[in-house]
């Protein structure tokens, strides 16, 4: 029995926040069958509320002792917001275009590109999120029906739609709030890492269709692969909120410090951190500093004309090389 883990690295220094991934995922999976409000993939602007709004405040995950922590289920008014509908059918009849929900108050990308700080020293960056397909999934641990499993061949975490009884403890327990409830199916559903695509040699929609070319997909034990090298060899790719104890398998190259801030005279402050390191550490943990340092020094070397395997990898000359699915494309 092979017990491999398929993982993804997202390079936040290349993410342009275009949301092509979000929409690609939506048309692949969540534009139908009670999934309208779900974003198996979303891109949030950080610092910010994310999706579901303020998801980090909903609890879940494990405590230091390895026990599940309490968690809360987001709701329409707290977290998800409405999937708004509009009156397209009335336009031909001369009506104005209207949001049927009235004046909206919250949505999945509500604070896009807002961030924080004071002009001209504000900052924000994009954080795309999918299910982390954790090695220690809290959703799996919490399910009273034993209806969540990890696939042997790739570690993809799936809700068993046959056995799921709709009790939703998985939703409360997932600290990333990446499990959703489908009222039409009366089952929990979540990102499936596009395993049906992977089985045909096609990368997940969010990665395959990513125009920023930020996503690498491969097996963590594939030592020739970018995922292994970025995570283990160069240690520039870090998990999001490892502190939640679920051992996530989606990794991020954290954002570099950004353009310099300005002093009162409009002079750039050399070496200033537009994005505070402490904020990044709160997301990506204590190894953030070392990861950024490594990246910065490789870029410096590159400027002096030296080669860099790490940067060549992140540049990704041939897009198809970003995916090592252990399978030729069949379709």
């Amino acid at each position: 029995m092979s017990k491999r883990q398929l993982a993804m690295v997202m390079d936040l220094n290349k993410c342009i926040g275009c949301q092509t991934c979000t929409v690609a995922c939506k048309t692949q999976w969540t534009n139908r069958n009670g999934r309208d409000y779900m974003y198996w993939n979303n891109v949030e602007s950080r610092p910010g509320a994310g999706y579901p709004n303020k998801w980090e405040e909903f609890g879940g995950g494990f405590d230091q002792q390895g026990n599940l922590r309490d968690g809360e289920i987001p709701t329409r008014s707290k977290g998800y917001g409405d999937p708004w509908d509009f009156n397209h059918e009335e336009l031909l009849h001369g009506d104005d275009f209207k949001n049927k929900s009235g004046v909206p108050a919250v949505g999945p990308n509500w604070d896009e590109e807002v961030g924080e700080g004071q002009f001209p020293n504000s900052n924000f960056f994009y954080l795309p999120r999918i299910c982390n397909h954790c090695a220690n999934p809290a959703c799996l641990a919490a399910c009273p029906s034993g209806a969540i499993f990890k696939r042997d061949q790739d570690g993809v975490v799936l809700v068993d739609l046959d056995r799921c009884k709709g009790q939703r403890l998985c939703i409360a327990s997932c600290p990333y709030k990446k499990v959703y409830f489908n009222t039409k199916l009366f089952k929990a559903e979540k990102c499936i890492l596009c395993f049906p695509r992977i089985e045909k040699g096609l990368a997940p929609a969010c990665a395959d269709q990513c125009v920023g070319r930020i996503r690498f997909v491969g097996y963590l034990d594939d030592k020739e692969g970018q995922v292994y090298k970025l995570v283990h060899k160069y240690k520039v790719a870090l998990p999001l909120h490892a502190d939640y104890g679920t051992v996530p398998n989606i990794y991020y190259v954290p954002p570099l410090k950004g353009p310099p801030k300005f002093d009162g005279d409009g002079k750039p402050i050399e070496g200033s951190e537009r994005i505070p390191l402490s904020y990044l550490e709160s997301l990506f943990g204590p190894d953030t500093k070392a990861a950024l340092k490594r990246l910065e020094s490789e870029i410096e070397q590159r400027k002096q004309g030296k080669g860099s395997e790490l940067l060549d990898m992140l540049i990704a000359f041939k897009r198809d090389d970003m995916f090592r699915l252990g399978k030729e494309r069949e379709i």
Partner: protein
């Protein structure tokens, strides 16, 4: 348990659950409960196949069968031009996935896969939306009332054709306005209505100009506005500057090259008033005050000149800076001014050139007043410079067999002219130097907000980087002073000596594509009435009234030195000169007799300003509109023609040259027809046939030849529009009747497509790679990124300018009068009555207005029109994020949601453009509170290469309007 769904779903959920008051916080089960301890979660799970089958089935329902997939791009005047696969199942499009099969050109340069964006990736959802136009409709109520009668295609076409015909009879060809708008800039589909318009002699305005996306200031310096590189150039550049542009938002498919370039060692600088999505990855962001960009450019030029950072060799060879200028008149000194026997004049060289000129005279006549002079340091004599328009020696070489010129950049001398007058002459470089001292970094700091240390950094980076590319965006041309800004930045880049493989200026590269003309034209025999976009739309919209309403005398004085009425009179005088058939050649053409409008893909009510909508509706006696959806404009049409959308047609798209691939659109196999939609080619063919039929019938009845032959002495070589021929001419006797015919004809005609054909394009994933003939001013190298002007830099070919050189100096008397003979910066026009500048840049969430109404995309925004305001601005107005506010000025007000952000200055309101009026309360859109004015310099016409055409027209401006905020 209130888990969120649509209301109906939620209700269902609640009923099924039978609960409503459960606490939402779930207590975690702890050890001791019946918690299953997962030692290794990767255990063999016994019931995997149920779920796996479920999702596999879903996937295969979306994927269908590869052999049935179509290809497409989203040609709604998005410049991206990205190859997509269109997935289909049971005759219905399910979704789209990029082709991602563009061949790499070099293993050390990132490839172009995958292209696409958040808009294109959801067209499959939009094409089946409930605002889809399904049937031809005839208006039966008042315009805009939404009362329609469904009619047959034949009835609809008859209405359109007879209105076009009656107008030709009554008014002449100039009474018709036939146009495919900014919603469809492709070489294939858009040619349909162009062809029809050309055949009938109808008016067609220039799109780039009316949408305000022209680069006239770049044309001034470089001779053409669309210049620059393929996007992979950014990867191997040492410096990438993005000025007035936000590529992460508006060049989504190409942006990766920038950040891969950063990893490759390039320095990236963004110059914009706001901290936007591109700034976040930049090495340096320069927050500039809106509209002051020309001041910054000139201050960098001053730094370069003052510190002598420029390369004199480049300036001498490639710019007009060594040319001599008369101090008495500020005019360029020309050969016509000089007696060749003058002792100071190098008559030997003239003799030598004259021999060469005689050889060439047949195809390039000599014109002494377009031959310019410099002082040759190597012999101390005034000499003629080759390469200018009046000179058949077409080279910029300073040294060649027979001549050796070392132009003196600092020349200052007295000269006796042919008429005996003694004048002082100097170089344009000397004059530029003087001019620039007014714009030193210290002097302009208060205007630009840019610290002098940054001016220094920019100057050094632009000079010392081996390869430096400066990309400018459309936003700069949106200011009233935009042409001068574009010119100032172009001049700066020209001064740095970067061209060709060394970088330079990047707007939008255009490939040279030969053979597509046959689709839209008739070998020049019949011509359309090509109108200035800006003038045509401004006059049609009676926009002077809005100008009067919003601006004050002092606004105008600050921006132009004239008062409001004075400026208007001068504009009106220029506009009047170029009016109608008689005005052709006299400036910016436009025809005010237009009254019958047949248009497609053109949501003009959202774009045009102020009271345009009312003026247009008053003007339009008949107005037919083709689109695939009910846009705001569609609501007002007399006849609605349902068009096929991008996945249902054949089409071909090449330009702009962000990449070297031409994309093909062809529908998936077995695709179900959506309603009764037809392609624009099918519509145009039907209209052409019907016109011939109607004219013949009428002639048969009346015997009056004028019913068959419409007089057109100016735009038809035969002097007439022979309507009995229209059907055959349009369709080439049946060869060209459909979108597919058009594409097949294009693919087989275009030299740059060889050796490809439709079949090979489909096989490759819906595209082809252009061959090496596609480069216009550089070869298109097989394994390296493209940039313009290598032929100039290395082969010394003249530029397409009056002097053949990069143009700093314009000696048009009108320009001299206002001090614009040299690069200059002037304050922008804005109404000071209101405190906040309304900036409306290109959108991330729509392609102009297309997809603005997409449910998928609206859900990722705010679900209603919103505007960004600064934190300080919000607190001053007592406004919180998410509250509805009014943007108010003297023209009107518009209601939007406030989005409060720390990323913009407190002096602006930033709102993506493209929202359609019907999306706002009361149907009043953001552009309806805007006013603009035609710019006199942009209107000026006739000097050298500044002659009305695709490179020299004005822009409609947008960043002229100011507002105040009121709470709703």
């Amino acid at each position: 348990m209130p888990v969120s769904f649509t209301r109906r779903d939620t209700l269902k959920g609640l009923l099924t659950l039978g609960v409503g008051s459960l606490a939402t916080t779930l207590k975690a089960r702890t050890l001791g409960d019946d918690v299953k301890i997962v030692e290794d979660p990767r255990y063999e799970y016994s019931n995997a196949s149920y779920t796996e089958k479920f999702y596999r089935q879903e996937f295969s329902s979306s994927y269908g069968v590869k052999s049935e997939h179509g290809h497409a791009y989203h040609c709604v005047n998005c410049q991206g031009n990205c190859a997509w696969e269109v997935w289909v199942k049971d005759g219905k499009v399910t979704r789209e996935n990029q082709s991602r099969s563009y061949p790499a050109i070099n293993p050390k340069i990132p490839d172009f896969n995958p292209r696409g964006c958040n808009k294109g990736v959801q067209h499959s959802q939009t094409m089946y939306e409930e605002d889809r136009l399904l049937h031809p409709m005839k208006r039966i109520g008042k315009r805009g009332d939404g009362k329609w009668q469904r009619i047959s295609w034949d009835d609809a076409i008859t209405e359109v054709a007879s209105n076009l015909y009656q107008t030709m009879r009554r008014v002449g060809p100039a009474g018709n306005y036939i146009h495919i708008g900014a919603g469809m800039i492709t070489e294939g589909r858009a040619a349909s209505f162009k062809r029809l318009g050309t055949l009938l002699g109808a008016v067609r305005p220039y799109i780039a100009s009316y949408v305000g996306d022209m680069f006239p200031g770049v044309s001034l310096v470089y001779g053409e506005g669309n210049i620059g590189c393929t996007s992979d150039f950014f990867y191997q550049s040492n410096l990438n500057i993005f000025w007035g542009t936000n590529p992460n938002t508006t060049r989504i498919p190409d942006a990766h090259f920038i950040w891969e370039g950063k990893y490759n060692g390039a320095k990236t600088i963004v110059i914009t008033p706001e901290y936007n999505s591109s700034c976040i990855h930049a090495d340096l962001w320069i927050p500039i005050k809106p509209g002051s960009d020309a001041y910054l450019a000139l201050s960098v030029m001053d730094e370069i000149v003052e510190r002598k950072l420029y390369n004199p060799k480049f300036i001498k060879e490639f710019t007009d800076l060594p040319l001599l200028v008369r101090k008495d008149s500020n005019a360029l000194l020309t050969l016509a001014d000089i007696d060749p026997k003058n002792a100071l004049f190098d008559d030997k060289l003239l003799e030598h050139f004259s021999e060469l000129m005689e050889e060439e005279a047949e195809h390039h006549p000599v014109n002494p007043s377009e031959i310019f002079l410099a002082l040759n340091k190597s012999n101390g004599k005034v000499t003629i410079m080759s390469g200018s328009r009046g000179m058949p020696v077409e080279t910029l070489r300073l040294v060649d067999s027979g001549w050796k010129i070392d132009p003196d950049l600092d020349a200052d001398l007295k000269l006796t002219l042919k008429d005996g007058k003694e004048v002082e002459v100097t170089t344009s470089f000397n004059l530029l130097k003087q001019q620039l001292t007014q714009f030193s970094a210290k002097r302009v700091e208060g205007i630009t907000g840019v610290n002098p240390s940054l001016v220094k950094e920019l100057a050094q980076d632009m000079i010392y980087s081996k390869v430096a590319m400066t990309t400018i965006g459309f936003s700069l041309g949106k200011y009233f002073n935009g042409m001068l800004t574009q010119r100032a930045i172009s001049s700066l880049v020209a001064l740095t000596g970067k061209m060709g493989d060394l970088g330079g200026l990047n707007t939008e590269n255009e490939w040279s594509i030969e053979g597509l003309g046959t689709l839209s034209s008739f070998a020049g025999k019949y011509r359309h009435r090509f109108a200035s976009g800006a003038v045509s739309e401004f006059m049609l919209g009676e926009s002077m009234d809005d100008y009067q309403e919003l601006f004050s005398d002092s606004d105008l004085e600050r921006a132009t030195g004239m008062d409001k009425d004075d400026y208007q009179q001068k504009v009106e005088a220029l506009v009047a000169k170029a009016k109608g058939d008689q005005g052709v050649g006299e400036g910016k053409s436009y025809w005010e007799e237009v009254e019958t409008f047949v248009m497609a893909a053109d949501a003009r009510f959202r774009r045009n300003k102020g009271s345009y909508k009312e003026a247009f509706l008053n003007r339009a006696k008949f107005f037919a509109y083709a689109d695939f959806r009910v846009s705001d404009l569609a609501q007002y049409a007399d006849i609605l023609l349902p068009a096929k959308s991008h996945y249902e047609v054949w089409d071909i798209r090449v330009n702009p040259g962000y990449h070297r691939y031409a994309n093909l659109a062809h529908p998936p196999k077995g695709l179900n027809q959506v309603g009764e939609a037809k392609s624009e080619w099918e519509m145009a063919t039907l209209i052409a046939k019907k016109i011939t039929q109607l004219a013949k019938e009428q002639y048969k009845k009346s015997g009056d030849k004028r019913d068959l032959h419409i007089a057109d002495p100016t735009h038809s070589d035969t002097g007439f529009r022979e309507l009995e021929l229209v059907a055959d001419l349009f369709t080439i006797k049946g060869e060209l009747e459909s979108d597919r015919d058009a594409v097949e004809m294009a693919v087989s005609n275009v030299k740059q497509f060889r050796p490809h054909n439709v079949k090979s394009m489909i096989k490759q994933g819906g595209h082809l790679q252009l061959n090496d003939k596609a480069g216009k001013s550089s070869p298109l190298g097989r394994d390296r990124p493209y940039n313009t002007f290598e032929n100039n830099l290395y082969l010394h070919q003249p530029m397409e300018t009056l002097t053949g050189r990069l143009t700093f100096y314009v000696d048009d008397p009108e320009w001299i009068k206002v001090g614009a003979h040299l690069p200059i910066a002037v304050p922008e026009l804005r109404a000071e009555k209101f405190p906040l500048l309304l900036m409306t840049p290109h959108a991330k969430w729509s392609i102009h207005s297309t997809y603005k109404t997409s449910t998928t995309l609206q859900r990722l925004q705010r679900g209603v029109p919103y505007a960004m305001i600064g934190v300080g601005c919000a607190s001053r107005a007592g406004v919180k994020d998410g509250e509805m506010i009014k943007l108010v000025n003297s023209i009107g007000s518009v209601e939007v949601m406030a989005k409060v952000t720390p990323n913009i200055p407190n002096t602006v309101v930033l709102m993506e453009h493209g929202w359609e009026p019907y999306m706002f309360k009361g149907g009043v859109g953001q552009n309806q509170i805007m006013a603009d004015m035609l710019n006199l310099l942009e209107l000026s016409d006739g000097w050298g290469h500044l002659k009305f055409g695709v490179n020299w027209d004005g822009n409609q401006h947008a960043y002229t309007t100011t507002v105040k905020i009121e709470k709703v």
